[in-house]
Subunit: 398 residues, 2 copies
């Protein structure tokens, strides 16, 4: 893998560039489509490509549980299994195990809306904490599918990810709750840092012969504490990683700041991926503060809920105003869905629970977000980023 | 609409030909894909086309209830609404109303497996009979969506279908239960015959200006009685229809015979459509006895159940033998799914309830049945029909 920076936005951490993998290049900044179970939900690989998506990120935790990395490997790895010829990522499984453990039922998500979790939710978090148990060696947890007892360690996360065979894989990390104390976060950071070194060692052991193309990204944690975020980034920067992921969950208001702390410490020449983030304002904030790539389930998830992105904001088209509209979702959009179907048809498909609506809305949303990031890249190259951002935000969030 | 016969199979009612509509031609015999609610379930129009499907049949009853024919008409009619540029059909709504009435909960389907319905099922049929009530003017029924009281008559079935604007529409008929007495069937036939004349009258009234392209097919009924089937066909043949549908439900063993009775009476020069039939053996039996086109939900319905057609018979690929198979569904198949995905991936998608499996399996099944009918057409043209049929049936049903 190589990373080349084309342009640094003046007086900013933002930059444009290109990541080149053995399965093709990714122009950055880029939005990476999520294909949790080796499928971008409701879309064929050709439909994903038609949205402008350059790469797909699959989930190690999900694929380990089902169908198992050996099945994927037997088909020739993730690319061949899902028939996606472009670049791929797998995450480390850390976030999913965190979701089963500390975050389970707590209402904690990647970007919190700002309010603290309620007492009820905290109680529930405690009672559910036993679904995943962390020790210095790794994490023990129960499968959400069949309750089977499983264990993830830095070593077997690397082994699983090497079998899956994505171009870019992530070190196994402990993703902490944003509500955890400084004391706990420091302890978690020490553990994650030790795990990072074990991941690199195992990765090097596995990176032989036909698996030598795989690149390993370290994952920066540290919750919402500046000192811990900077420490995490600074220490990981010293290790032999090909790039970095930024993990954890954020408050909407302080995400940009937390990303800035990290990106100020990370080496300029290596790519930075913001894990699981992807609403329009988050994307602008991330890029402005030094992020190169993002992944997020939102475009396909909100599609299955009948919601779409438009330049005038997010809309749910299952509501009655769209029942007889002959307009496309967005007249400014050039996606397959907007070029071929009007709102009255899409509204009808949603009301009739026809599977096709999930496909058509996912195509639109993925195209919208991918195009937005493409446009942001252009705005960096042309030094028009701030104008583009303020115009977009004013219209989208008015 | 024109219909041209290319070849009559020797000593048989089977023939090959072409129906030409204002939206394109249909080489016959042909399998028509079902798009109940103006969508072939889980497929984009391009995916439908990629299966070799030449035409789509939508349901009047469903579209009348939701979104309503006015919404469809506002978009320019069925073709524009669903973005299908090829030929289209709409059925009359008769079968669906029958399903709500006499057949409701009785286990009666298009092709019964042979056994009589149970007493329990018959009781249930009687208790549910009030969901639809037939009189000489039309049928009153309650919407299965919101319980709203609705009425279909020959006149408004024509009005609805003209608004939907398919190339080929069907006369409104009373579809009787195969368990109904000869006395009742005769009465129903008289009613359907009177309705046929009213449909033609209304159709002529509506066939002005830009709706002059629409062709009207009469629907032959008569249950399982030879005299009534022949009478129905003979009398409808005298009316000014552009073609004929053959309705009703059949026993698997006697379907071919019932079709033969009808096709011996119908004019040779007009196309014949067997409504709602489409399992491989039924298709062979239908074509052998004079059928030109079929429609059936089976290919997409069994796909959503994890089942696929193969030249070795029907298989459910959610079962464990397919868990790690690197083969495609059928090595002889050239569909998009078989060319790009192996069974272990498809099995994984089913097990993970990933929407994509419904799309990929529907593509395969629709391609399989469409290709089968294409091959039967070729076998008619080359006078190899009987050999082709016995080879296929021996392999498929062994």
């Amino acid at each position: 893998m190589t990373f080349k920076i084309n342009h640094h936005l003046k007086n900013s951490l933002a930059r444009s560039g290109a990541i080149t993998t053995p399965h093709g290049s990714i122009e950055t900044p880029a939005f990476i489509a999520v294909g949790t179970a080796a499928t971008v939900k409701a879309l064929t690989p050709e439909q994903v490509k038609s949205t402008g998506s350059q790469a797909v990120l699959a989930n190690t935790y999900h694929l380990h549980l089902r169908p198992g990395e050996d099945i994927v490997s037997k088909s020739g790895g993730l690319h061949d299994f899902m028939n996606w010829s472009g670049p791929t990522y797998t995450d480390s499984g850390g976030f999913q195990v965190f979701s089963l453990g500390e975050a389970f039922g707590s209402g904690v998500s990647k970007v919190a809306s700002g309010e603290e979790v309620s007492i009820d939710a905290q109680d529930q978090r405690i009672s559910n904490a036993k679904k995943a148990k962390i020790d210095d060696e790794g994490v023990s947890f129960y499968s959400h599918i069949d309750g089977k007892h499983l264990r993830l360690t830095p070593e077997n996360s690397m082994q699983i990810q090497h079998k899956l065979g994505a171009d870019i894989i992530f070190a196994f990390d402990e993703c902490t709750s944003p509500h955890a104390s400084h004391e706990y976060q420091l302890k978690a950071w020490e553990r994650t840092h030790a795990w990072a070194k074990r991941c690199i060692k195992e990765h090097h052991k596995l990176s032989k012969g036909d698996k030598s193309y795989i690149s390993l990204f370290g994952v920066v944690q540290g919750g919402r504490f500046e000192d811990l975020r900077r420490l995490s980034a600074k220490e990981l920067a010293k290790l032999d990683f090909d790039g970095f992921g930024i993990g954890g969950s954020f408050n909407k208001s302080d995400m940009g700041t937390a990303v800035r702390w990290v990106c100020e410490e990370l080496p300029v020449a290596k790519p930075r991926h913001l894990l699981g983030i992807g609403e329009p304002s988050d994307i602008f904030d991330g890029i402005e503060n030094g992020i190169d790539t993002f992944d997020c389930v939102s475009p396909t998830r909100i599609a299955r809920n009948g919601s779409v992105y438009t330049y005038d904001g997010r809309k749910n088209i299952s509501t009655s105003p769209y029942r007889s509209s002959l307009a496309p979702i967005d007249t400014l959009c050039g996606c397959y869905t907007c070029e071929n179907f009007n709102l009255s048809y899409l509204h009808h498909l949603i009301k009739s629970s026809e599977i096709l609506f999930t496909t058509l809305l996912s195509i639109h949303n993925l195209h919208f977000i991918t195009k937005l990031v493409d446009d942001i890249r252009e705005s960096i190259n042309h030094e028009t980023f701030y104008q583009f951002k303020s115009d977009f935000i004013a219209k989208y969030y008015r």
